[in-house]
Symmetry: none
Subunit: 191 residues, 2 copies
DNA sequence: GGTTTGGTTTGCCATTCTGGCAAATGATAT
DNA sequence: ATATCATTTGCCAGAATGGCAAACCAAACC
Protein backbone atom coordinates (compact mmCIF):
# COMPACT_ATOMS: atom_id res chain seq x y z
CA UNK A 1 0.00 0.00 0.00
CA UNK A 2 1.17 3.49 -0.73
CA UNK A 3 0.74 4.85 2.74
CA UNK A 4 2.03 2.95 5.70
CA UNK A 5 4.27 4.83 8.08
CA UNK A 6 2.79 8.16 7.06
CA UNK A 7 -0.46 9.69 8.10
CA UNK A 8 -3.73 8.91 6.41
CA UNK A 9 -4.07 11.98 4.24
CA UNK A 10 -7.25 10.82 2.67
CA UNK A 11 -8.94 10.06 5.94
CA UNK A 12 -7.96 13.41 7.32
CA UNK A 13 -9.23 15.24 4.27
CA UNK A 14 -12.50 13.39 4.70
CA UNK A 15 -12.80 14.37 8.30
CA UNK A 16 -12.13 18.02 7.49
CA UNK A 17 -14.62 17.93 4.70
CA UNK A 18 -17.32 17.06 7.12
CA UNK A 19 -16.05 19.28 9.88
CA UNK A 20 -15.97 22.35 7.73
CA UNK A 21 -19.26 21.64 6.07
CA UNK A 22 -21.13 21.16 9.31
CA UNK A 23 -19.44 24.15 10.89
CA UNK A 24 -20.69 26.26 8.04
CA UNK A 25 -24.12 24.77 8.49
CA UNK A 26 -24.31 23.48 4.94
CA UNK A 27 -25.98 20.33 3.72
CA UNK A 28 -24.56 17.55 1.61
CA UNK A 29 -26.91 18.59 -1.14
CA UNK A 30 -25.67 22.17 -1.20
CA UNK A 31 -22.04 21.18 -1.36
CA UNK A 32 -22.68 18.41 -3.83
CA UNK A 33 -24.43 20.84 -6.15
CA UNK A 34 -21.69 23.42 -5.94
CA UNK A 35 -19.03 20.78 -6.48
CA UNK A 36 -20.99 19.09 -9.25
CA UNK A 37 -21.08 15.67 -7.71
CA UNK A 38 -23.91 13.44 -6.56
CA UNK A 39 -25.16 13.71 -2.98
CA UNK A 40 -24.68 10.04 -2.45
CA UNK A 41 -21.14 10.28 -3.67
CA UNK A 42 -20.41 13.13 -1.30
CA UNK A 43 -21.97 11.19 1.54
CA UNK A 44 -19.74 8.23 0.78
CA UNK A 45 -16.70 10.44 0.39
CA UNK A 46 -17.21 11.95 3.80
CA UNK A 47 -18.02 8.67 5.46
CA UNK A 48 -15.18 6.80 3.87
CA UNK A 49 -17.16 4.50 1.66
CA UNK A 50 -15.71 5.85 -1.52
CA UNK A 51 -12.22 6.93 -2.40
CA UNK A 52 -11.63 10.65 -2.23
CA UNK A 53 -9.50 11.56 -5.23
CA UNK A 54 -7.37 14.54 -6.05
CA UNK A 55 -9.75 15.84 -8.64
CA UNK A 56 -12.56 16.00 -6.14
CA UNK A 57 -10.62 18.51 -4.13
CA UNK A 58 -10.83 21.79 -6.05
CA UNK A 59 -14.56 21.57 -6.42
CA UNK A 60 -15.09 20.70 -2.81
CA UNK A 61 -12.67 23.29 -1.52
CA UNK A 62 -14.38 25.94 -3.60
CA UNK A 63 -17.80 24.78 -2.49
CA UNK A 64 -16.73 25.10 1.13
CA UNK A 65 -14.89 28.34 0.61
CA UNK A 66 -11.58 27.02 1.85
CA UNK A 67 -8.25 26.53 0.21
CA UNK A 68 -7.06 23.21 -1.04
CA UNK A 69 -4.41 23.24 1.65
CA UNK A 70 -7.03 23.40 4.33
CA UNK A 71 -8.21 20.02 3.15
CA UNK A 72 -4.96 18.19 2.56
CA UNK A 73 -2.56 20.31 4.54
CA UNK A 74 -1.03 19.36 7.88
CA UNK A 75 -2.45 22.28 9.82
CA UNK A 76 -4.55 21.65 12.87
CA UNK A 77 -8.34 21.76 12.85
CA UNK A 78 -10.28 24.75 13.98
CA UNK A 79 -11.12 26.59 17.09
CA UNK A 80 -12.74 24.35 19.63
CA UNK A 81 -11.92 27.02 22.17
CA UNK A 82 -13.91 29.92 20.93
CA UNK A 83 -16.82 27.67 20.25
CA UNK A 84 -18.18 27.35 23.76
CA UNK A 85 -18.93 30.98 24.48
CA UNK A 86 -21.14 31.79 21.55
CA UNK A 87 -24.46 33.52 21.62
CA UNK A 88 -27.11 33.71 18.94
CA UNK A 89 -29.33 36.60 17.96
CA UNK A 90 -31.09 37.85 14.86
CA UNK A 91 -29.91 35.02 12.66
CA UNK A 92 -26.30 35.41 13.69
CA UNK A 93 -24.06 33.48 16.01
CA UNK A 94 -21.39 35.57 17.68
CA UNK A 95 -18.19 34.21 19.13
CA UNK A 96 -16.58 36.91 21.21
CA UNK A 97 -12.90 37.14 20.41
CA UNK A 98 -11.96 39.81 22.85
CA UNK A 99 -12.02 39.62 26.56
CA UNK A 100 -13.87 42.74 27.45
CA UNK A 101 -10.68 44.56 28.26
CA UNK A 102 -9.63 48.02 29.23
CA UNK A 103 -10.06 49.22 25.65
CA UNK A 104 -13.64 50.24 26.34
CA UNK A 105 -16.66 49.70 24.16
CA UNK A 106 -14.94 47.81 21.39
CA UNK A 107 -15.59 44.18 20.67
CA UNK A 108 -14.18 41.71 18.19
CA UNK A 109 -16.27 38.77 17.07
CA UNK A 110 -16.29 35.87 14.77
CA UNK A 111 -19.80 35.96 13.37
CA UNK A 112 -21.62 33.21 11.57
CA UNK A 113 -24.55 34.60 9.64
CA UNK A 114 -27.46 32.39 8.86
CA UNK A 115 -28.55 32.20 5.21
CA UNK A 116 -31.97 33.25 6.44
CA UNK A 117 -30.76 36.66 7.54
CA UNK A 118 -30.86 38.06 4.05
CA UNK A 119 -33.07 41.11 4.04
CA UNK A 120 -32.77 44.25 6.11
CA UNK A 121 -35.51 45.53 8.40
CA UNK A 122 -37.58 48.52 7.37
CA UNK A 123 -35.57 50.73 9.64
CA UNK A 124 -31.83 50.55 9.81
CA UNK A 125 -30.01 51.08 13.08
CA UNK A 126 -27.86 54.12 13.61
CA UNK A 127 -25.49 54.72 16.47
CA UNK A 128 -22.11 56.07 17.37
CA UNK A 129 -18.93 54.33 16.43
CA UNK A 130 -17.24 52.53 13.60
CA UNK A 131 -17.59 48.95 12.38
CA UNK A 132 -15.03 46.88 10.58
CA UNK A 133 -15.73 43.59 8.84
CA UNK A 134 -13.52 40.99 7.22
CA UNK A 135 -15.33 38.28 5.29
CA UNK A 136 -13.88 34.84 5.82
CA UNK A 137 -16.43 32.71 4.00
CA UNK A 138 -19.54 33.28 1.99
CA UNK A 139 -20.81 36.51 0.53
CA UNK A 140 -21.95 39.28 2.77
CA UNK A 141 -24.78 41.60 1.94
CA UNK A 142 -24.14 45.04 3.32
CA UNK A 143 -26.67 47.84 3.24
CA UNK A 144 -25.11 51.22 3.93
CA UNK A 145 -27.36 54.20 3.53
CA UNK A 146 -28.59 53.97 -0.04
CA UNK A 147 -26.02 51.44 -1.12
CA UNK A 148 -26.60 47.69 -1.25
CA UNK A 149 -23.23 45.98 -1.51
CA UNK A 150 -21.92 42.47 -1.85
CA UNK A 151 -18.71 41.71 0.00
CA UNK A 152 -16.66 38.72 -1.09
CA UNK A 153 -14.39 36.47 0.96
CA UNK A 154 -11.12 38.22 1.75
CA UNK A 155 -12.62 41.64 1.36
CA UNK A 156 -12.97 44.21 4.04
CA UNK A 157 -15.41 46.95 4.79
CA UNK A 158 -15.16 49.71 7.30
CA UNK A 159 -17.84 52.28 7.93
CA UNK A 160 -19.19 54.74 10.39
CA UNK A 161 -22.17 53.40 12.29
CA UNK A 162 -23.72 56.82 12.14
CA UNK A 163 -24.74 55.85 8.62
CA UNK A 164 -27.89 53.71 8.64
CA UNK A 165 -26.48 50.21 8.22
CA UNK A 166 -27.26 46.53 8.20
CA UNK A 167 -25.49 43.37 7.13
CA UNK A 168 -26.58 39.82 6.45
CA UNK A 169 -26.21 36.91 4.09
CA UNK A 170 -26.35 37.31 0.35
CA UNK A 171 -26.90 33.77 -0.86
CA UNK A 172 -25.66 31.38 1.78
CA UNK A 173 -24.05 31.27 5.19
CA UNK A 174 -21.41 33.86 5.84
CA UNK A 175 -18.56 33.97 8.30
CA UNK A 176 -16.95 37.25 9.17
CA UNK A 177 -14.51 38.67 11.62
CA UNK A 178 -15.97 41.84 12.98
CA UNK A 179 -14.71 44.66 15.07
CA UNK A 180 -17.74 46.45 16.34
CA UNK A 181 -17.08 49.83 17.83
CA UNK A 182 -19.36 51.30 20.48
CA UNK A 183 -21.51 48.29 21.15
CA UNK A 184 -23.62 50.57 23.34
CA UNK A 185 -27.33 50.22 23.85
CA UNK A 186 -28.07 53.66 22.52
CA UNK A 187 -29.12 52.27 19.19
CA UNK A 188 -31.68 54.28 17.29
CA UNK A 189 -33.77 53.43 14.33
CA UNK A 190 -33.81 55.50 11.23
CA UNK A 191 -36.27 56.39 8.51
CA UNK B 1 -17.06 14.35 -13.16
CA UNK B 2 -15.95 16.11 -10.01
CA UNK B 3 -13.64 18.52 -11.70
CA UNK B 4 -14.74 20.41 -14.72
CA UNK B 5 -14.35 24.14 -14.49
CA UNK B 6 -11.49 23.87 -12.05
CA UNK B 7 -7.90 23.00 -12.73
CA UNK B 8 -6.67 19.46 -13.14
CA UNK B 9 -5.01 18.93 -9.80
CA UNK B 10 -4.27 15.32 -10.45
CA UNK B 11 -2.68 15.96 -13.82
CA UNK B 12 -0.56 18.68 -12.37
CA UNK B 13 0.58 16.48 -9.52
CA UNK B 14 1.53 13.84 -12.05
CA UNK B 15 3.53 16.25 -14.10
CA UNK B 16 5.36 17.49 -11.04
CA UNK B 17 6.05 13.97 -9.94
CA UNK B 18 7.92 13.28 -13.13
CA UNK B 19 9.52 16.68 -13.30
CA UNK B 20 10.96 16.45 -9.85
CA UNK B 21 12.08 12.89 -10.23
CA UNK B 22 13.91 13.44 -13.50
CA UNK B 23 15.41 16.67 -12.25
CA UNK B 24 16.83 14.75 -9.35
CA UNK B 25 18.12 12.13 -11.75
CA UNK B 26 16.28 9.33 -10.01
CA UNK B 27 14.72 6.28 -11.61
CA UNK B 28 11.23 4.97 -11.30
CA UNK B 29 12.61 1.98 -9.49
CA UNK B 30 14.32 4.07 -6.83
CA UNK B 31 11.27 6.15 -6.11
CA UNK B 32 8.97 3.18 -6.25
CA UNK B 33 11.08 1.39 -3.69
CA UNK B 34 11.20 4.33 -1.34
CA UNK B 35 7.49 4.91 -1.69
CA UNK B 36 6.72 1.20 -1.38
CA UNK B 37 4.82 0.89 -4.61
CA UNK B 38 5.39 -1.13 -7.74
CA UNK B 39 7.49 0.34 -10.56
CA UNK B 40 4.75 -0.33 -13.03
CA UNK B 41 2.31 1.46 -10.82
CA UNK B 42 4.55 4.47 -10.53
CA UNK B 43 5.06 4.48 -14.26
CA UNK B 44 1.35 4.49 -14.81
CA UNK B 45 0.81 7.14 -12.18
CA UNK B 46 3.25 9.47 -13.84
CA UNK B 47 1.98 8.79 -17.32
CA UNK B 48 -1.65 9.10 -16.42
CA UNK B 49 -2.66 5.50 -16.89
CA UNK B 50 -3.58 4.99 -13.29
CA UNK B 51 -5.35 7.27 -10.90
CA UNK B 52 -3.11 9.12 -8.50
CA UNK B 53 -4.77 9.04 -5.12
CA UNK B 54 -4.36 11.08 -1.97
CA UNK B 55 -2.75 8.25 -0.10
CA UNK B 56 -0.02 7.93 -2.69
CA UNK B 57 1.13 11.43 -1.93
CA UNK B 58 2.92 11.23 1.40
CA UNK B 59 5.08 8.32 0.29
CA UNK B 60 5.95 9.91 -3.01
CA UNK B 61 6.58 13.33 -1.53
CA UNK B 62 8.90 11.74 1.02
CA UNK B 63 10.66 9.69 -1.63
CA UNK B 64 11.30 12.83 -3.64
CA UNK B 65 12.17 14.92 -0.64
CA UNK B 66 9.50 17.51 -1.21
CA UNK B 67 6.49 18.60 0.74
CA UNK B 68 3.03 17.44 -0.01
CA UNK B 69 2.12 20.96 -1.02
CA UNK B 70 4.76 20.98 -3.69
CA UNK B 71 2.89 18.18 -5.38
CA UNK B 72 -0.66 19.36 -5.10
CA UNK B 73 0.44 22.89 -5.69
CA UNK B 74 -0.75 26.31 -4.82
CA UNK B 75 -4.48 26.46 -4.65
CA UNK B 76 -6.41 29.15 -6.38
CA UNK B 77 -5.55 32.24 -4.41
CA UNK B 78 -8.33 34.12 -2.72
CA UNK B 79 -9.00 37.80 -2.50
CA UNK B 80 -7.33 39.18 -5.59
CA UNK B 81 -8.33 42.61 -4.42
CA UNK B 82 -6.31 42.87 -1.29
CA UNK B 83 -3.50 40.95 -2.85
CA UNK B 84 -1.98 43.71 -4.91
CA UNK B 85 -1.16 46.08 -2.11
CA UNK B 86 0.93 43.83 0.05
CA UNK B 87 4.30 44.60 1.48
CA UNK B 88 6.90 42.29 2.92
CA UNK B 89 9.19 42.80 5.87
CA UNK B 90 10.92 40.66 8.47
CA UNK B 91 9.62 37.38 7.08
CA UNK B 92 6.03 38.58 6.99
CA UNK B 93 3.78 39.72 4.21
CA UNK B 94 1.20 42.27 5.24
CA UNK B 95 -2.01 42.98 3.38
CA UNK B 96 -3.52 46.16 4.71
CA UNK B 97 -7.19 45.68 5.38
CA UNK B 98 -8.03 49.15 6.49
CA UNK B 99 -7.91 52.26 4.48
CA UNK B 100 -5.95 54.56 6.70
CA UNK B 101 -9.05 56.24 7.89
CA UNK B 102 -10.09 58.78 10.44
CA UNK B 103 -9.67 56.27 13.25
CA UNK B 104 -6.06 57.30 13.69
CA UNK B 105 -3.08 55.05 14.30
CA UNK B 106 -4.87 51.77 14.08
CA UNK B 107 -4.32 49.30 11.31
CA UNK B 108 -5.83 45.97 10.41
CA UNK B 109 -3.84 43.49 8.41
CA UNK B 110 -3.95 40.06 7.03
CA UNK B 111 -0.46 38.77 7.74
CA UNK B 112 1.23 35.78 6.21
CA UNK B 113 4.18 34.71 8.32
CA UNK B 114 7.04 32.84 6.75
CA UNK B 115 8.06 29.57 8.42
CA UNK B 116 11.54 31.05 8.66
CA UNK B 117 10.42 33.73 11.08
CA UNK B 118 10.50 31.42 14.04
CA UNK B 119 12.78 32.85 16.65
CA UNK B 120 12.59 36.22 18.35
CA UNK B 121 15.41 38.75 18.28
CA UNK B 122 17.52 39.29 21.38
CA UNK B 123 15.62 42.43 22.19
CA UNK B 124 11.89 42.61 21.99
CA UNK B 125 10.13 45.75 20.85
CA UNK B 126 8.08 47.79 23.24
CA UNK B 127 5.76 50.63 22.38
CA UNK B 128 2.44 52.17 23.17
CA UNK B 129 -0.80 50.58 22.15
CA UNK B 130 -2.57 47.27 22.02
CA UNK B 131 -2.32 44.43 19.52
CA UNK B 132 -4.99 41.93 18.66
CA UNK B 133 -4.40 38.74 16.68
CA UNK B 134 -6.71 36.14 15.26
CA UNK B 135 -5.02 33.05 13.85
CA UNK B 136 -6.56 31.82 10.62
CA UNK B 137 -4.11 29.07 9.67
CA UNK B 138 -0.99 27.55 11.08
CA UNK B 139 0.33 27.88 14.59
CA UNK B 140 1.59 31.17 15.86
CA UNK B 141 4.47 31.52 18.25
CA UNK B 142 3.95 34.43 20.56
CA UNK B 143 6.55 35.67 22.97
CA UNK B 144 5.10 38.00 25.56
CA UNK B 145 7.44 39.08 28.32
CA UNK B 146 8.57 35.82 29.89
CA UNK B 147 5.91 33.72 28.26
CA UNK B 148 6.40 31.73 25.09
CA UNK B 149 2.98 30.75 23.78
CA UNK B 150 1.58 28.75 20.94
CA UNK B 151 -1.63 30.06 19.43
CA UNK B 152 -3.79 27.69 17.41
CA UNK B 153 -6.07 28.44 14.47
CA UNK B 154 -9.25 30.11 15.61
CA UNK B 155 -7.69 31.39 18.77
CA UNK B 156 -7.23 34.99 19.66
CA UNK B 157 -4.71 36.93 21.62
CA UNK B 158 -4.84 40.49 22.75
CA UNK B 159 -2.07 42.23 24.62
CA UNK B 160 -0.61 45.56 25.51
CA UNK B 161 2.35 46.43 23.35
CA UNK B 162 3.99 47.95 26.38
CA UNK B 163 4.92 44.39 27.25
CA UNK B 164 8.01 43.25 25.35
CA UNK B 165 6.51 41.18 22.56
CA UNK B 166 7.19 39.32 19.34
CA UNK B 167 5.33 36.87 17.18
CA UNK B 168 6.29 34.49 14.40
CA UNK B 169 5.81 31.01 13.08
CA UNK B 170 5.89 27.96 15.29
CA UNK B 171 6.30 25.14 12.81
CA UNK B 172 5.07 26.28 9.43
CA UNK B 173 3.48 29.17 7.64
CA UNK B 174 0.94 31.13 9.61
CA UNK B 175 -1.86 33.41 8.54
CA UNK B 176 -3.36 35.86 10.99
CA UNK B 177 -5.70 38.76 11.04
CA UNK B 178 -4.12 41.48 13.10
CA UNK B 179 -5.28 44.74 14.51
CA UNK B 180 -2.18 46.64 15.38
CA UNK B 181 -2.73 49.62 17.58
CA UNK B 182 -0.44 52.65 17.53
CA UNK B 183 1.73 51.68 14.64
CA UNK B 184 3.94 54.61 15.58
CA UNK B 185 7.64 54.78 14.95
CA UNK B 186 8.49 55.28 18.58
CA UNK B 187 9.47 51.68 18.97
CA UNK B 188 12.06 50.90 21.62
CA UNK B 189 14.04 47.82 22.28
CA UNK B 190 14.06 46.08 25.56
CA UNK B 191 16.47 43.86 27.42
C1' DG C 1 26.45 -3.79 -37.37
C1' DG C 2 24.97 -6.60 -32.96
C1' DT C 3 24.68 -7.10 -28.05
C1' DT C 4 24.38 -5.71 -23.32
C1' DT C 5 22.49 -2.90 -19.84
C1' DG C 6 19.50 -0.03 -17.50
C1' DG C 7 15.17 2.31 -17.64
C1' DT C 8 10.33 2.47 -18.84
C1' DT C 9 6.07 0.80 -20.63
C1' DT C 10 2.49 -2.62 -21.43
C1' DG C 11 -0.39 -7.34 -21.45
C1' DC C 12 -2.84 -9.84 -18.59
C1' DC C 13 -6.88 -10.75 -15.51
C1' DA C 14 -9.26 -11.82 -10.95
C1' DT C 15 -10.75 -8.57 -7.83
C1' DT C 16 -12.30 -4.18 -6.30
C1' DC C 17 -14.20 0.27 -7.06
C1' DT C 18 -17.21 3.69 -9.40
C1' DG C 19 -21.24 6.66 -10.32
C1' DG C 20 -25.86 7.92 -10.01
C1' DC C 21 -30.68 6.75 -9.34
C1' DA C 22 -34.16 5.48 -6.16
C1' DA C 23 -35.59 3.97 -2.04
C1' DA C 24 -34.72 3.44 3.07
C1' DT C 25 -33.50 5.44 7.19
C1' DG C 26 -32.76 9.31 10.55
C1' DA C 27 -33.70 13.69 12.51
C1' DT C 28 -36.61 17.80 13.34
C1' DA C 29 -40.25 20.51 13.29
C1' DT C 30 -45.43 20.98 13.29
C1' DA D 1 -48.52 11.26 14.31
C1' DT D 2 -47.04 13.39 10.14
C1' DA D 3 -44.65 16.06 7.00
C1' DT D 4 -40.12 17.71 5.73
C1' DC D 5 -35.55 17.74 5.18
C1' DA D 6 -30.87 15.41 5.57
C1' DT D 7 -28.20 11.42 5.17
C1' DT D 8 -27.25 6.72 4.18
C1' DT D 9 -27.64 2.49 1.55
C1' DG D 10 -28.95 -1.14 -2.35
C1' DC D 11 -28.19 -1.96 -6.70
C1' DC D 12 -25.23 -3.19 -10.77
C1' DA D 13 -23.01 -2.53 -15.42
C1' DG D 14 -18.96 -0.77 -16.57
C1' DA D 15 -14.33 1.00 -15.28
C1' DA D 16 -10.13 0.91 -12.48
C1' DT D 17 -6.66 -1.67 -9.65
C1' DG D 18 -2.30 -4.08 -8.61
C1' DG D 19 1.65 -6.56 -9.46
C1' DC D 20 4.16 -9.98 -12.13
C1' DA D 21 6.51 -10.89 -16.32
C1' DA D 22 7.43 -9.81 -20.73
C1' DA D 23 8.22 -6.23 -24.23
C1' DC D 24 10.06 -2.15 -25.55
C1' DC D 25 13.47 1.67 -25.97
C1' DA D 26 17.89 4.07 -25.81
C1' DA D 27 22.43 4.69 -25.21
C1' DA D 28 26.85 2.63 -24.47
C1' DC D 29 30.00 -0.87 -25.73
C1' DC D 30 32.03 -4.67 -28.10
Amino acid sequence: MANQTQEPVEARARRRLREIRTELGLTLQQIADRAHIDVSTLSRLESGKRRLTLDHLPGLAAALGVTLEELVGPSVPRDPRVRSRSRTCDGMTLWPLTHRGPSGGLGAYRIQIDPGRNSPPAQLPVHDGEDWLYVLDGRLRLVLGDEDLSVEPGEVVQFSTRTPHWFGALDGPVTVIAILGAQGERTHLHR
